[in-house]
Amino acid sequence: MREEVRNIQELLRRQAYVTDPAVATSVYLAMALGKPLLVEGPAGVGKTEIAKSLAEALDARLVRLQCYEGLDATTAIYEWNYPKQLLHIKLQELAAASSAEKEAEIFGESFLMKRPLLEAITDQTSSPVLLIDEVDRSDEEFEAFLLEILSEFQVTIPEIGPIKAIHRPYAVLTSNRSRELSDALRRRCLYLWIDYPSFEKELEIVRAKVPAIGEALSAELTRLIQAVRKLNLAKVPGVAETLDWASALVVLNTSQLDQDVIAETAGCFLKDEADLRKFEAELSAGLLKK
């Protein structure tokens, strides 16, 4: 294994982010090749966490863009500051400037309101980490905006022209696959798939993130979660749910899992009524034992 890959793994681990070689290699390559990283996988497996931990590990700024349907350039890239422009025009009313000069003035950078994407590429000091979260929630029109930013790391504003990144951001995109992303966007990114972790990895994560939990309890809880994932549920619990549950058990001072404790706290990792009922039925049937 390359020294650099191991370093990244170590850096992330120090942020209590438990990696595997696949994650570390992809992150390393994304940084080395200067390409965005597209992370896909089921909900709650720590896709977003990659960007956060990376930012902390590099001591870089994290610029986050949460995607949603209808997200457009004015909320994601930039918007002109209209009240300021209007005021400026009023104040300059008596000035002798021609309208062309006035136009150049009010469409200058000081009248620009930067939104996350522009923010990320105009960082003056160092490369920030740009997290474009749940990109599958945005619509196809928005993907088109992303293409220029992710391949050239520049934004073109009609009134000003292209603004190129001084420090290329480390871009991380996450997707839950609620819709298929366009090929054009996929092509511009390195690809990483994160699945539900293995028992060993999940146990390591639980112990790293909830250190207060006992050895026996953490193993018991992880084993149960792993069994629950095989139940064919509507909302399969992710690692985030495992951690919620672990924290809850710590707060409740639980030292051992029994039927009652599990039934009382199942809401921590099952967020669907039908799933809960199914789980309870399995639990009382003793199917989850061992």
Binding site: R2, L86, I89
Partner: protein
């Protein structure tokens, strides 16, 4: 590092071949990815198989569905890397790409191409009169069951299809476009125009909601039990498709076939003739689950949140209900809306007890009958996202 100067060129050539092989198997690998792949090899430890594998996978795949193909072809690539770094013969180098080309060809033949070739050989089933429970006592045109429809009455169906198409084209989007008069003031445009009058706001510019690009994906059951209905339904879909561009049409019984192109014929008669030779006689069971899976994996780009998926089937499935359940769950997750139209539902005594239908119900947004014109009209209000 294994790549010492002598082998450098070889490594590059092998990588390019590897990339080409991946592309032929349908991965999104263009020369720019090949360049990245070569660059990657310079950045990693080539003696570490896992690291080479993970790195190239990260660069050369773009969705998890690519992984099996990548794994398969990586074997060959790694074997070549692992050999002594002597210059290899050109013939040998060609091996990889030709063998892959062949296997990908074979791969395709197992799929739909294979079925297409064998369609013509099936027996043509004449439309025997079947007593369907959807038949109503009142024989008014609107409530007359499709299975007793005459050719002249089909025209009414086309008219209805055109109306629904128009409605589909009128869905408002969340995005804006400039407009002469609209519901909101476009501040950016207004300011820009005010400059012409020395910064005085004289004229307001407006914007309005853009039209949403709703797509319709119709999957029509053409198996034996649906014979009488599928013809009428295809007529309906033909009408839709010819007045509304964003319609994709598929038919299935034991496997799925895309017929969007077939329906683009100028006259319905022509379209039906072309289809008829293909589709008829293609009975012998219904595998709804695998057919929907084929849609999920074969045409993922049609299924997104802007798509309304309509399944026309009676739910008589010879496959496993679990398969249907998971396939529909996957479809539902990606599509904007999932509508199941069942001609049998028109009968007051019908209960969706068919096992397949039971498995399907939890995933369906709209479960409606489609056996007469009235039910076709009722469909109209469901076709909005």
């Amino acid at each position: 590092m294994r790549a010492h100067p002598l082998a450098e060129d070889d490594l590059g050539a092998d990588t390019v071949l590897f990339c080409r092989a991946l592309r032929e198997r349908g991965l999104l690998v263009t020369p720019s990815e090949a360049i990245d792949a070569v660059a990657t090899l310079g950045l990693i430890d080539l003696d570490d198989r896992q690291e080479t594998f993970l790195s190239l996978r990260s660069v050369l795949t773009s969705r998890i569905e690519d992984f099996p193909v990548f794994e398969e072809l990586f074997e060959g690539f790694w074997d070549r890397l692992g050999r002594s770094p002597q210059p290899r013969k050109v013939v040998e180098r060609e091996d990889l790409s030709t063998s892959v080309r062949l296997s990908s060809h074979d791969h395709g033949r197992k799929g739909l191409a294979f079925f297409l070739e064998h369609w013509g050989t099936g027996e043509s089933r004449a439309a025997e009169p079947i007593n369907l429970p959807g038949a109503s006592d009142v024989e008014s045109a609107a409530e007359k069951d499709f299975c007793s429809f005459g050719a002249d009455e089909l025209e009414e169906i086309s008219r209805l299809a055109r109306r629904i198409a128009k409605r589909l084209a009128r869905n408002p989007s969340r995005r804006w476009k400039p407009a002469g008069r609209g519901s909101r003031v476009d501040l950016r445009q207004t300011l820009r125009r005010s400059l012409r009058t020395g910064g005085e706001l004289v004229e307001l510019s407006f914007k309005q909601r853009r039209q949403k690009k709703t797509r319709l994906v119709v999957i029509c059951d053409v198996s034996g039990s649906m014979d009488l209905y599928s013809q009428v339904l295809l007529q309906f879909v033909y009408g839709l498709q010819n007045s509304f561009a964003r319609v994709e049409t598929f038919v299935f019984s034991t496997s799925l076939k895309r017929i969007t192109g077939h329906l683009r014929d100028k006259t319905y008669k022509h379209a039906l003739e072309r289809l008829g030779t293909n589709v008829r006689g293609w009975s012998g069971g219904t595998l709804i689950g695998p057919s929907i899976n084929a849609l999920n994996s074969g045409w993922p780009k049609f299924i997104d949140k802007g798509a309304i998926v309509i399944i026309l089937s009676d739910g008589w499935d010879t496959g496993e209900p679990e398969d249907l359940g998971t396939a529909l769950a996957d479809l539902k997750r990606r599509a904007g809306k999932l509508i199941w139209l069942n001609p049998l539902l028109g009968s007051p005594s019908y209960q969706p007890l068919v096992r397949g239908m039971q498995a399907a119900l939890p995933h369906i947004d709209v479960f409606a009958p489609l056996h007469n014109l009235a039910s076709l009209r009722a469909l109209e209000r469901h076709l909005v996202l």
